[in-house]
Structures are given as structure tokens and as C-alpha cells.
Symmetry: C2
Subunit: 201 residues, 2 copies
């Protein structure tokens, strides 16, 4: 069986990554997604492995040490992170996985698992990015400036990604990423089974 | 300006390469094509650089020596070949080029010009290939067997291509190749100008 693709999409805050990924999930409903690990306790009907993988703080720190957490953050005293093994399991089971990771997260994943397809989502211009950030209406002028500075630093890292896609419009960006996924499935390394089957006939 | 892609498609006789490439030319009418060089004399209204580049036998042999001919053949005492420089000129002028080359030709071009995107077109099965070859009705049983043996040898070379596409149906194969072309344009190496423009803003 052919491995599923692991596709990781990153981009600066305000670039519209969430909307593009939502569009891609509509186009590829069969794609898996990452379930985060957290050290907070389950609430209400939350089930382990569905909303989150629930682990103790000590277990979480052990996962970090073992290199099992691709990226993590702390929020109100609890850890939230993206675990590696479930992604590899989905891929080996033939299911493609679509991930929304920070720039550092995509690069860490690529380092751990070279077959990851990394895509950097760019704004059409820095002015457009600023207007998208200001347009949210929720960010102070100061915070917009901070995000703009962070964006420049992140965009400078695009050189370490496999692909860059400019988000002029959601549909155009999602279609370019869909083409990348289709093309990656045709790469010789991923389609060698078709060749071997023919040669064995 | 961004370089145009140089896309070279190869596959065994009978796989349906011509039909798939015709479909692609309909989809991408802006794509350039190779004009062959020949040592035969122009006929009627034929113009140099339109139907063929017309060169003397000596000039042709000099081009071969200079590594300027990607692949060539002799037919009724004349040379016919695919020249390298016009392809590079089209690409540098921003025009993508779609080529129909032999397996050896694609590999030679990739060696000379690493940015070439090489695609190997596979039959759905060897049985289907045999039936397509026999179905032509123009080939003797013996010739079909010869083509089948050649096909196996060529398919074994698919490992040296960037992509493999199985030609189940013309539209599906052409769409997969279209996705490859779209994706290749998004590769960081080909889109770094977008990143540089943003960083310079």
C-alpha cells in the first residue's frame, strides 16, 4: 500500500492559513488531521484521542524529551502539543494528513520525517498582510506592528520549505495546494509500486 | 522574470503519449514545443526555424559533437534531432516547453539541464499495453513482441524520472501532468522571487 502524504502548511499570522486549510478539508474530506496532546484534564464528554490525547504533565514532559512532540505551547499552565507517532501511523495506513503548524513546527517535522511535504503560504504583499491584520479589528496598532515584524522573520524562512503558495484568493491558493498534493503522489519515490507491478507481470 | 518549465514526457510505444500530449497542448496552448533540426533540404514552403531548422550534414555532426543535440535519429540518410539551445531560450524567456522525447532523450536532457521536469507515462498493465499495440492493427505479432520487450526495458528506467503517471484515461493522465506543472511552479526554487519581493518591501 502507498503511504499517505504528510502535508504541513505554515505562514505568518494574518495570511489566511485557517481559511485555506478549511477549504482544503472540504476538497479532501478523507485527509486526516492531527489530534493534539494536552496536559489539561478532560472536560465534559471529551474523550482521549478524540478532542485531545490527555496526558499528565510528567508524561507530556517525557514525550518532549523523547522527541515525540513536534511543537508545543503552554497556555494557562498546561501543555498543548502536536505528537509525531499518530501522523506516521495515519500515513503508513495510506491516509494523507493535512497539518496546520507554525513555521518552526513544519521545519521540525521535516527534520524528523523527511518525506513531509512543507508548504509556506505567502501574502500577496506586506501591505495586504497589514490590512488583513488591522482588518480583524481585534489587534491594537502596536500588536499589528509586532505581527508584521514576526511575519518578515518567518517569510525569510520560506527558503527551507518545499513549496511556496501566494494566497491571493482562498480558492486559488487551495487549488495550488491540491495540485501539489496530486503531483507529490506522482513522484517516482511514491509511485514506484506501479512500476514494480508492471515489471513483475 | 520566472523561467518557464521544461517538461519532458516519455513512455513506451503504445502507451498513448501522443494523445496525452495533444490534450496537454489544448490545456496549455501557450506552451512552446521543440522544432527539430534536420540535415534534409527544405521542401516547398518550409521555412528554417518553423517546420525544422535546416542544417547541412556537416553542421549537424558538429552540433552533435558540441553536445547541442539531445537526441537524434537517421531516416533515409538524413539526420533528425532535438536541439538544446532553443529550449533553454524559451525557458529563460518565461515560456514553458512541453517535449515528447524518447526515454534516453529525457534522461540526456535532465543530465544537461537539471531543472528539466521528467515524466514517465506508464500503461495501466502490460496486458493493456499489448492490446493497445495489437489494436493498431498495423504491427505484426512479431513486432508487437519486440515492442513489449522494449517496453519492459524502458519501464525499468522509470526510476530515473522525477514523476510517473499511469495513463488509465487521456483526461486523467493529462490532469495529473497539469497538476505536476502547477506544483513545479510553486517549488521554492522557482518561486523565490515572490519571497524576495516581500522581504524587500
Amino acid at each position: 500500500m502507498r503511504n499517505g502524504l504528510i502535508v504541513s502548511i505554515s505562514g505568518p499570522s494574518g495570511v489566511g492559513k485557517g481559511t485555506v486549510i478549511d477549504k482544503l478539508r472540504e476538497m479532501f474530506p478523507e485527509c486526516g488531521r492531527s489530534v493534539s496532546v494536552t496536559s489539561r484534564s478532560p472536560r465534559g464528554q471529551e474523550k482521549d484521542g478524540v478532542e485531545y490525547f490527555f496526558r499528565s504533565k510528567e508524561e507530556f514532559e517525557k514525550l518532549i524529551e523523547e522527541g515525540e512532540i513536534i511543537e508545543y505551547d503552554q497556555y494557562v499552565g498546561n501543555y498543548y502539543g502536536t505528537p509525531l507517532t499518530p501522523l506516521l501511523k495515519m500515513s503508513r495506513g495510506g491516509q494523507s494528513v493535512l497539518l496546520d503548524l507554525t513555521v518552526a513546527g513544519s521545519l521540525a517535522l521535516k527534520e524528523k520525517f523527511d518525506e513531509t511535504v512543507t508548504i509556506f503560504l505567502l501574502p500577496p504583499s506586506m501591505e495586504e498582510l497589514r490590512s488583513r491584520l488591522s482588518g480583524r479589528g481585534t489587534e491594537s496598532e502596536e500588536l499589528v506592528e509586532k505581527r508584521m515584524a514576526e511575519a518578515k522573520g518567518e517569510i525569510a524562512q520560506a527558503v527551507r520549505f518545499d513549496y511556496v503558495v501566494t494566497n491571493h484568493q482562498v480558492e486559488q491558493a487551495a487549488e495550488e495546494i491540491a495540485a501539489i498534493m496530486k503531483a507529490e503522489n506522482c513522484r517516482y519515490e511514491r509511485s514506484s509500486d506501479a512500476v514494480e507491478t508492471l515489471l513483475a507481470e
